[in-house]
């Protein structure tokens, strides 16, 4: 996952219909699940999760075990080839999936919880405390995250997966908080929230039952965004050799490959399968996020076909500003001009 602003459209996207009833929300969930992008993304994530859980058992070799098959290209025995000391790269990838998924999802969870608390609080409450929280999240957005994470990870002793996940989680909640705050601010002024307030419902009940359900899509999308960032960051940290090397992960495979000059030696198999796995995970997460975007912003949903087939077989161009006129047999006869 490249570290870029893929998600930057979301803040300006039209909010989901706030007056959704429970049934309509269920329909919404259904609509989200039948979305092809979401489904294929979730299937890919599911497969990777299975690998994360069972990777250790599935791995044909011990990922750290040396063997005499030194630097071999992919074969039936070693699907992804071997390293300079004969380790099986396929096993390393399988075993390393767990760490990647663990750090990604833990960091995503931590960041999302902080983001929801800070974003919703600062959006719903008013006054200097809310302004302060919002200012803090803006500061965290602007401060470059990776250098900060590198510094903190470097300072914290024995940085295992938990440490990395927590450091990433605690430094990357600000995007979500910002989005959620903006959305909460607009929800706060809606009729159904005003009505709940007028009938004397408690603040926490309003937040829990009126506000949060309407933020689901944005919470999900910021969670996925953070997972993408966390995965990219963890792999980067391992690649440059900053995080501990106690457990295998994809970044660490690349670290060894880089350290042993794999590419100059032509050992492409040491890099390419891992890179593709990273891209696969990133694509899966992006697909789910596209689906959520389309769910939140219906304008993105409409079919993107630029031409359609008319009844007489001719192609008709669908275009904003020029509604197509279908050829109609009766039109060929001039109607009394």
């Amino acid at each position: 996952m490249a570290i870029t602003g893929v998600g930057i459209t979301t803040p300006n996207v039209a909010p989901a219909d706030p007056a959704q009833t429970a049934t309509r929300r269920r329909h919404g969930l259904h609509r989200l699940l039948v979305n092809g992008k979401v489904t294929s993304g979730l299937v890919m994530l599911g497969v990777l999760t299975l690998i994360a859980v069972f990777g250790q058992a599935l791995a044909p070799f011990d990922p750290s075990k040396r063997s005499s098959d030194i630097l071999q290209s992919p074969s039936l025995k070693h699907w992804f080839g071997t390293t300079h000391i004969g380790q099986d790269i396929f096993s390393q990838v399988l075993v390393g999936t767990r760490s990647v998924m663990f750090v990604g999802f833990t960091a995503g969870l931590v960041a999302t919880i902080i983001g929801v608390v800070i974003g919703v609080t600062s959006g719903y409450l008013s006054g200097s405390a809310a302004e302060g929280l919002s200012a803090i999240s803006n500061v965290f957005i602007v401060i470059p995250a990776l250098p900060l994470i590198i510094i903190i990870t470097n300072v914290v002793p024995n940085s295992g997966d938990w440490t990395i996940a927590l450091v990433i989680g605690f430094t990357s909640w600000a995007w979500g908080a910002r989005l959620l705050r903006a959305q909460t601010l607009s929800l706060r002024r809606r009729d159904f929230v005003e009505a709940a307030r007028a009938t004397g419902e408690s603040t926490w009940r309003i937040i829990g039952f009126e506000i949060l359900p309407n933020l689901t899509a944005i919470i999900a999308s910021s969670f996925i965004g953070t997972v993408m960032f966390a995965v990219a960051t963890e792999i980067a940290l391992a690649f440059v050799g900053i995080s501990g090397i106690s457990e295998w992960n994809w970044g660490e495979i690349l670290f060894w490959a880089q350290g042993q000059q794999a590419l100059p030696q032509g050992a492409w198999w040491w890099f390419v399968p891992v890179g593709l796995c990273i891209a696969l995970l990133g694509t899966a997460l992006s697909l789910v996020n596209f689906g959520i975007d389309e769910f939140v912003n219906p304008r993105l949903r409409a079919s993107g076909q630029s031409t359609v087939k008319a009844s007489d077989g001719s192609r008709v161009r669908m275009k904003v500003g020029f509604t197509p006129v279908l050829a109609d047999p009766s039109r060929s006869k001039e109607i009394g001009i």
């Binding site: 039209a14 990776l146 440059v240 904003v320």
Partner: protein
């Protein structure tokens, strides 16, 4: 308070917050590695430099936190960032002055190019939905999902090597003296081509997608229908009505995404051994060069803030609603 002043206040606040974070991080280091390093070099470093490190890292335990903080700010105000252990006896500020131009040029040029290219493609993809540009989306999504550094490694493997026009690493031919000579500039340009291309390829998809989605969203606005109804040329409706409005969120996103982009490009510098700030930072970490790490974090944060400020100015120029009521 006008929009401009509010933003300015925000940047001052953020700069202060960054300085403060930078103050606390080294004080949270368990043990006292800096003291140990300073003691190890006693005799080589002059007392003034020891004093400056003492202020930066709070080595004097008798001082209160507040005293440490004020003298830290006072010292930074003088531009004294201490001495670099890894590049001894160079002061941190000098190491930064050498590395910063490389990074600024590389990241500055590539990020702006990538933003412009991605945004322009996004305009077309969003306007002609279902066209071939729109068909690029899956490919760009996949490319955006690949880490910058991995793409860089592959680029090195594919395009460099014996007889290639493109060098695999470094910022210029070893042996050349950095300066305004034609030979040096030519060499520097050639060395920057591959890292630049890597950053652009990896990041263009994000901008493309963002702009495309905003175009699609904006195309459904009433004023676009009005523009069509007015019989304006397609180019004018697409550019001056749709793209001009869709650009606004992209520009504000540009500033905010910079903090992330910087992180990605650091690793590209690492892969290409490009002599910029990112390479220095990873090097400093390997050498436990705490003063340099601290200085780099500070400079990078301030640079991102400055870039954000520029993006804000651009936003203000583009969106009349942020200007004062006339």
């Amino acid at each position: 308070m006008s929009y401009f002043l509010r933003r300015l206040a925000f940047y001052v606040f953020t700069a202060w917050a960054a300085l403060t974070i930078n103050f606390f991080i080294p004080r949270l280091i368990p043990g006292d590695p800096v003291s140990a390093l300073v003691n190890g070099m006693r005799g080589q470093i002059d007392p003034a430099q020891i004093q400056s490190l003492t202020v930066l890292f709070g080595l004097d335990k008798k001082q209160s936190m507040w005293e440490q903080y004020t003298s830290y700010l006072a010292q930074l105000a003088r531009g004294d960032l201490g001495i670099s252990f890894g590049n001894f006896p160079l002061p941190v500020s000098e190491v930064l002055t050498q590395a910063l131009p490389w990074t600024l040029l590389l990241i500055g040029v590539t990020t702006v190019l990538s933003f412009l290219l991605g945004t322009l493609l996004g305009v077309f993809a969003g306007w002609w939905r279902g066209s071939w540009i729109d068909g690029l989306l899956p490919a760009t999504t996949f490319l955006s999902s690949i880490p910058y550094f991995w793409l860089g490694l592959i680029a090195v493997a594919l395009f460099t090597g014996v007889g290639s026009f493109l060098p695999a690493s470094g910022g210029y031919e070893p042996g050349l003296v950095p300066g305004w000579s034609g030979e040096f500039i030519d060499s520097a340009l050639r060395h920057s081509l591959l890292p630049a291309a890597t950053i652009i390829v990896a990041s263009v998809g994000g901008w493309l997608l963002a702009m495309r989605n905003m175009m699609v969203t904006v195309t459904a606005e009433d004023y676009i229908t009005v523009a069509h109804a007015k019989g304006l040329s397609e180019r004018r409706v697409m550019m001056n009505y749709a793209a001009r409005n869709a650009l606004l969120p992209s520009v504000s996103g540009f500033g905010m995404a910079l903090g992330l982009v910087v992180g990605g490009t650091f690793l590209v510098e690492y892969v290409f051994s490009y002599p910029g700030i990112g390479l220095q930072m990873l090097d400093a970490i390997a050498k436990h060069d705490y003063p340099l790490i601290q200085g780099i974090f500070l400079v990078v944060t301030l640079a991102v803030l400055a870039a954000n400020f520029l993006a804000d100015l651009a936003y203000m120029a583009l969106d009349p609603r942020t200007r004062k009521e006339g």
